[in-house]
């Protein structure tokens, strides 16, 4: 009797651990990260201009944790990624992060208690999910979807879709246009210039 019970218990344990538990994990993961961002931005102890740099540094760390930078950057180049050398690829990923920071950094920092609601998660493939959220401001509701991919067991964001416009697709079109006429080195130069002029 005891043997039987233990065998059942073992099977039960095996089943629990070998079946990947999807329910809610991507949504929870993104929600946790976004809440951390809100926590950093809204931190009452870090007010004022001087604290801005500290906040930015913390956000950079969080960005690396939340986003799969390589997937993100790779997808904005699509097939053109294959034309880049490994060194160029590395520089591209770095530059792209800086472009995003310069563009959206201040916007994120100016968050003032708008309500963020996570309401849905849908499966795109075995490894990919789309987590749907919306930001509720006083005058409108902005739908923001995060597309996440399973990377080493963690759910990382590889695309952000704001009001039906995918960030990856948007940059992909721009980079495609540029790379249709020029080589990768030129694109890197354009990005360097953009990052330095702000």
């Amino acid at each position: 009797m005891k043997k039987h019970f233990i065998r059942l218990f073992a099977i039960f344990v095996i089943l629990i651990f070998s079946v990947p538990v999807y329910a809610g994990a991507p949504l929870d993961s993104v929600k946790k990260c976004v809440n951390e961002v809100i926590g950093i931005v809204g931190n009452p102890k870090l007010k004022g201009e001087a604290a801005k740099e500290i906040k930015k540094e913390k956000l950079r760390v969080l960005y690396k944790e939340m986003f799969d930078e390589i997937e993100f950057s790779k997808r904005t180049l699509a097939r053109n990624w294959n034309k880049f050398t490994p060194d160029q690829r590395k520089e591209f990923v770095n530059l792209f992060e800086q472009v995003l920071e310069k563009a959206y950094g201040d916007k994120v920092l100016s968050y003032t208690n708008e309500k963020v609601e996570f309401y849905k998660e849908s499966k795109l493939s075995e490894d990919q999910f789309e987590v749907q959220s919306k930001i509720i401001t006083s005058s409108k509701e902005v739908p923001v979807f995060y597309r996440v991919i399973n990377s080493n067991g963690k759910w990382k964001v590889y695309d952000v879709v704001v009001e039906n416009v995918s960030l990856v697709q948007n940059y992909r079109t721009q980079f495609n246009d540029i790379l249709a006429k020029d080589n990768p080195a030129k694109l890197l130069e354009i990005l360097r210039k953009k990052v330095s002029t702000h």
Binding site: F17, D127, S151, N152
Partner: protein, 307 residues
């Protein structure tokens, strides 16, 4: 006794090997040699030497193994539009850009300083309410009867109990009658008419031949167009546009700053947005006549509609 030990070891084996939750969360993907894992046994994945490369060294592959129903979601990202008038469009885009920064934005900012946000939101509600005929007709033409009914109810409630449309009680949680975000251009899209090519109109901004019908049609369905002294019409339209701009200061600049090539960025954003809107409306067309107030992600049936 031996059997128990065997089962326990077996359990531990599976726990360690198969549970992805136990895998090392590697923070620095750039320098580690952790390959992206799937939910197969990690053992077999690690045996494959090609997989232990730096993600930087991996080439780009199209997304494989997407589930059937998600195919449309990913595929539609590669929406493109023909742009034969690119050189002309770029010039108009520059013109609109200057118009925004030199004329619209300063006025909108001044207006924003003077007028409190709740008043500006009321004005926005008022003009939204006047957009009822265009939205109502669009819903009917898309055979979206529940949407049309919702629009009618919204108009009645907002006009009678919302102080002539200044307030918007219909959108609240209690009544939950949401504005149907649709127009004549989307109607044509739902009927199967393609986007066409990209045009940038001065003042009106990005558009396509199909969506230009929207702009023209809205003019005839807009109650303001029937105001008599043309100066009154002009004045009201200006108020509408300045008010709307004042609520969105920062959006245009954000996209422009984030872009590497602003013209292409706006073109792509516009195209994606319109494409997704039409897709959402098509999903409504082909789904059963039930009140689906919020936009529904693409149904398997909608892929048959095409476009």
């Amino acid at each position: 006794m031996k059997n128990i030990l065997a089962s326990v070891i077996g359990v531990m084996f599976f726990v360690i090997a198969a549970c992805p939750c136990n895998a090392d969360p590697s923070n620095d993907a750039l320098s580690s040699s952790q390959p992206p894992t799937t939910f197969k046994l990690v053992l077999s994945a690690k045996e494959n030497p090609e997989k232990t490369t730096n993600p930087l060294d991996e080439d780009y592959h199209e997304d494989e193994n997407l589930d059937e129903y998600a195919n449309n979601e990913i595929k539609e990202e590669r929406v493109d539009i023909a742009d034969p008038l690119e050189s002309v469009n770029r010039v108009t885009h520059q013109f609109n850009d200057k118009l925004y920064f030199w004329a619209v934005k300063p006025v909108a900012q001044g207006y924003k300083e003077v007028v409190p946000e709740s008043a500006r939101i009321s004005v926005k509600n008022f003009f939204s309410n006047l957009g009822f005929p265009a939205r109502f007709l669009s819903c009917l033409l898309q055979a979206d009867l529940s949407g049309a009914a919702t629009e009618a109810r919204r108009f009645t409630i907002n006009t009678v109990w919302g102080i002539g449309g200044l307030l918007d009680p219909s959108s609240g949680k209690e009544l939950n009658l949401q504005e149907q975000n649709t127009d004549l251009g989307q109607t044509l899209g739902v009927w199967g008419i393609g986007q066409g090519f990209y045009i940038v109109w001065p003042v009106f901004g990005p558009s396509t031949p199909r969506d230009t019908v929207s702009i023209a049609g809205n003019y005839f369905l807009d109650p303001v167009a029937y105001l008599n002294p043309w100066s009154a019409r002009m004045g009201v339209n200006v108020l509408d546009k300045v008010n709307a701009a004042s609520l969105r200061i920062g959006d245009y600049e954000a996209l422009k700053d984030a872009a590497v090539d602003p013209y292409v960025a706006f073109r792509d954003a516009y195209v994606q947005y319109r494409y997704k809107r039409v897709k959402a409306r098509q999903a409504k067309w082909s789904s059963s006549p039930g009140p689906a107030e919020t936009s529904v992600p693409a149904n398997p049936e909608s892929s048959k509609r095409g476009q």
